[in-house]
Amino acid sequence: MESLRDIRQNIKAIKSTQQIMQTMKMISNARIRKAQDAMTAARPFATKMLEMVSDLTPEVLALPQPEDGRERWASRLFINHSADPNKIGLLVITADKGLTGSFNAVILRAAMRFIKEHEGQEIFVFAIGKKGRDFLSRLRLNNLHIVYESVGIFPKVSYAHAELLGEAVLKVFLEEQLASVTLIYNDFKSLASQHLVEQPILPFSPHAAHEKVIDREFSFEPGLLEIFKLMVPRLVKANMYRVLLESQAANLAATTSAMDAASKNAGEIADALGLKLNKVRQAGITNEILDIVNGAEALTN
């Protein structure tokens, strides 16, 4: 049987852990607000850019495509004539730290499944967040190439991070002639829930764009193709920014609820231990009384 001292020590340890968890919860709770604001603020840019690019897509596709390669660059972002079907990209966004419930596990499981499904293919990985980076590099698979990694950017994501990431993705996509790039991350749904998103981000498919016939007569400065070429990377970056902010907020929300659950659990354990402590103490007292009574009886006899 445990001694009273052991149990008391145990309770003390659990209570101090609980305190830490409560503090962590409070910190991420305070940060969520900011993360959410940043997310809402970033939304108009990304949606308007998408609208504009979608509007222009049919026009660009209607342009005669010269065969000198350079000009095809723009359309390659959509339909990919010359892509190598054996090369694909995977962008995984996880958190830097654990203690977030199943936040990272869900993403990594999905990533694992993706990797298994594409076993024979060369996969170019972009890893954001320490957890994902560590996990993927520990796999040591021959067909897995980590081409870009970025850790320690949460919870202070800035547009500069998105810019670097977007540039890296586009660069690898074009240079390695990837057939596609798939993104796996956790979307911020509400404070209480995140949901896993697995979506192809490149190439853009013209079908995804709303098929609106453009009747307005735009003029372009400098030219349609020149503008479009610059617009697509910008859209990609704006999207990266949105996604990073979503993950950031989702991660904070996950931390908050995980820490909340953990500190509740710790409270329960401390309560149970308190009961046990009382029982043990009571048992001790009963034993002592028994001893005394027995002793007294022995004397009278």
Binding site: A41, F45, M52, L164, F220, E221, P222, E226, I227
Partner: protein
Amino acid sequence: MPNKLKLNLITPQAQLLKDQEVDIVVLPALLGEMGILPGHIPVLVQLTYGELRYKQNGQESDFAVMGGFVEVKDDVVNVFAEGADLADEIDEEAESQKIKKAKDALSRKDADIDFELAEIELKQAITRMKVKQRKLG
């Protein structure tokens, strides 16, 4: 013909102007400054680093913008800038320090990511300085 333009200024970080009724917008287009008045034909313009000015009820305001695009249609001007700062809110002191810091980082040339960031930052700080100085006279 309406005689006002509606101006929206959006950056990845935030929407800075929303449906502002203005009289004229002057943009830092890639091929030179470009003025937009009400009744302008629909146009899509690429921006460079520079100054965006607009006049609202006789009052002129300036922004330092960091490249991007402008879409003009139906007397609505949508500016998509990589970054934008209101000239009045630019702190010259801070900017000159940023310029110095970025230049320092560039002269060291060790870590490549820092290098890229520094280059962007330098360009932005210089743009802000220029806009601010023009505004002051």
